[in-house]
């Protein structure tokens, strides 16, 4: 390819300059690992957001297989001021997928770095590279008969622990708050140095994966959802697989039951009677993962009427809210906690409990049980069939684990979604004291008018939730700057002060979480 042929260029980088950078990448990585042809770049430009594809088109993609190569890439990027958007497995669906934050950034794809460096069955720890998927790690654990259990997000089979944890994703087991279970990172900094958090800097140390804090400032959190370094190794904790895992579901008939459900669950969660990240799934989440499509019930455009939701609930034997929990431990421990749960439910006086035996291998119970016991699957992609057309954005406000709060958030979200002709497809993931209220803003991306509505809807969700003191924990690349505003100017100034100090050329993932030295001017 001659230097005049690059169709997409990074911001403020000329053809000749970019060509020099590409030639250096080729010398460092080999021709096969430097992708500039349109067909090669296509997979990196597949998005689910209501932006034009062109807004998120990369100028090139490079694949590295060693830390030294990552250092080399960073060096070249600095020399030519080429910004780089790093992906691990690139499966960040609903948050931007694999595509760069904005047009022209090159992709640094670390999927080929997929070594499981070590797994310690006694201590329940692992150290992995960016390209390791949960499926690969699961297979490794199975094949070597290790008594360990994974925790992952729903795209488990193709997503990986490093990327998910660095974006502070959550799962459905007792270890479901993934960043809490992180223990030791290795990062390539923008100046090319390799930094290890926690105990990792001590020569000969063997406590890197067991003691988080190390000495002096503990900086791990600073590198998550951020652009201060490229994570090349991640340590984390795994549960020992218990003798018994007892998944169960509690169905509630009315959408107005949500407040009572949360009040019922909270003490059981906080006191670890139910130790896992519980899910309270709405009817449409439940229906779509069971294989129901909107077109099975109506061809009318717009929000789906409540009468239809009720009909689906009745036809498919679902709850308006469907609570998924599991108990873990010895048979005796599980029995004690089961009695506490069923006793508490009796006191509540509503809710129908369904055990694994009663569910009898049906969906969505089966995939929920897999998520709660660490068996990879992709069943949750059924969500995308509700409307079809490949549009999906996660709107994920955080809330207190308090009934009245959930009630308010649910009502507000549904009202705004319906106003824009879309549906509430959501679930609450119950942490210890918090909830991740995750709503999939599903729309037909092949329909320009609906795409426009989805965009307006997402903006309004952010605005109206913010007015009431709610903010999201994570968002897709189109809205990162907007969400950064919600968290106030002091935080943004501090983040950009760090960026200036650590990455003065602004080459690492500019735009991530709204951190971009070229755009920020609120000093």
């Amino acid at each position: 390819m001659s230097e005049q042929d690059y169709k997409v260029l990074p911001r403020d980088v000329e053809q000749g300059e970019f060509h020099q950078a590409i030639e250096k990448f080729r010398a460092l990585l080999g021709d096969d690992n430097v992708l500039v042809e349109e067909a090669q770049l296509k997979p990196y430009n597949k998005i689910m957001m209501p932006s034009e594809d062109a807004e998120h088109a990369p100028s090139a993609a490079v694949t590295a297989t060693t830390v030294e190569q990552v250092q080399g890439v960073v060096k070249i990027c600095n020399e030519h001021k080429v910004p780089v958007w790093t992906v691990s497995t690139g499966r960040n669906f609903g948050y931007g997928s694999t595509a760069p934050h904005h047009r022209g950034q090159i992709i640094l794809d670390l999927k080929k770095m997929n070594k499981i460096i070590h797994v310690d069955a006694e201590l329940g720890t692992a150290l992995v590279e960016p390209g390791v998927t949960y499926q690969q790690l699961y297979d490794y654990i199975q094949e070597n008969n290790l008594p360990l259990m994974l925790s992952f997000s729903a795209p488990s089979a193709i997503a990986g622990p490093l990327g998910n944890t660095m974006d502070r994703g959550v799962g459905y087991t007792p270890y479901g708050e993934h960043f809490l279970m992180q223990c030791g990172m290795e990062l390539v900094l923008a100046n090319g140095e390799v930094y290890r958090t926690g105990m990792g800097g001590v020569e000969g140390d063997n406590a890197w994966q067991v003691f988080k804090w190390g000495y002096g400032p503990t900086l791990d959190g600073m590198f998550t959802q951020a652009n201060y370094g490229i994570c090349t190794k991640l340590g984390f904790w795994l549960m020992h697989k218990p003798p018994v895992i007892k998944p169960f579901e509690i169905q509630f008939e009315e959408e107005t039951d949500i407040a009572e459900i949360v009040e019922f669950i909270r003490p059981l969660r906080i006191n670890q009677v139910i130790p896992n990240s519980v899910v309270i799934a709405g009817v449409l989440w439940e229906a779509s993962t069971a294989g129901v499509r909107r077109s099975d019930y109506t061809s009318e455009p717009g929000a789906t009427p409540d009468a239809i939701l009720k009909q689906i609930q009745k036809d498919k034997h679902l709850g308006a809210w469907n609570v998924y929990c599991a108990l873990y431990g010895t048979p005796e421990q599980v029995e004690v906690n089961w009695n506490i749960v069923t006793g508490a439910l009796k006191q509540l006086g509503k809710g129908k409990i369904i055990t694994e035996e009663e569910a009898g291998g049906t969906e969505p119970f089966t995939y929920r049980a897999k998520l709660m016991s660490g068996v990879p699957n992709l069943r949750e992609f059924g969500l995308y069939n509700w409307r079809g057309g490949g549009g999906s954005m996660w709107f994920a406000p955080v809330s207190q684990a308090r009934g009245s709060e959930c009630d308010k958030q649910y009502a507000l979200a549904k009202e705004i979604l319906n106003k824009h002709g879309l549906d509430y497809v959501g679930e609450f993931i119950v942490g210890w004291r918090d909830m991740h209220h995750v709503i999939d803003v599903l729309y037909d991306r092949t329909n320009p008018e609906e795409t426009k509505r989805a965009d307006a809807c997402f903006n309004e969700l952010l605005d109206e939730f913010e007015k009431r003191g709610y903010a999201v924990y994570r968002v897709n690349t189109r809205f990162m700057d907007r969400v950064a505003q919600s968290y106030g100017p002091v935080k943004r100034r501090l983040e950009h002060t760090l960026k200036k100090a650590l990455d003065p050329n602004n080459i690492l993932a500019p735009g991530k979480s709204g951190i971009d030295l070229d755009k920020f001017n609120d000093w």
Binding site: A39, Q40, K42, P43, Y44, N45, K46, M48, T63, T89, R91, S97, T98, D109, K111, K112, K115, I116, I117, H118, V119, D120, A121, E122, G131, T133, Q135, Q136, L137, D139, Y140, I141, E143, N144, N145, L146, P147, A157, I158, H240, P242, P243, A290, G291, T330, P331, P376, N377, L378, R379, F381, G382, Y384, N385, G388, G389, G390, S392, R445, T446
Partner: protein, 110 residues
């Protein structure tokens, strides 16, 4: 592949018995992160959506779909179907999974 520390002894809690004396192991069937042919890729990736009786992804088996078509869809994605770059499924493995899908018999009617 670095050495794996995995010698497991029983925990103090008698009920939580771990398998004893796991020795260090070499590269294994899937845990080594290498594709081992079309069927392997299908099982570990495609099948998760496409072996669901059409609930999640459409059934591919028994349609004689040409590998070139499979390759195009995998590389570009299609609506909700994610795109997979060559770093995830290399060209040769993608061709193999295409050939594997092409010859799969139609699933038996339930």
């Amino acid at each position: 592949m670095s050495v794996i520390r995995s010698k497991a002894r029983s925990l103090a809690i008698a009920a939580l018995v771990l398998p004893s004396a796991l020795v260090a192991f070499s590269a294994s069937a899937s845990g080594d992160g290498q594709w081992k042919g079309g069927e392997h890729v299908y099982q570990k990736v495609c099948g998760h959506c496409h072996d669901t009786n059409g609930d999640i992804g459409p059934v591919l088996a028994g349609r004689g779909l040409p590998p070139a078509y499979i390759t195009a869809i995998v590389r570009q994605g299609f609506r909700a179907m994610p795109a997979f770059p060559a770093s995830f499924i290399d060209d040769a493995s993608l061709q193999q999974v295409g050939e594997y899908i092409q010859q799969l018999p139609a699933p038996a009617k339930e």
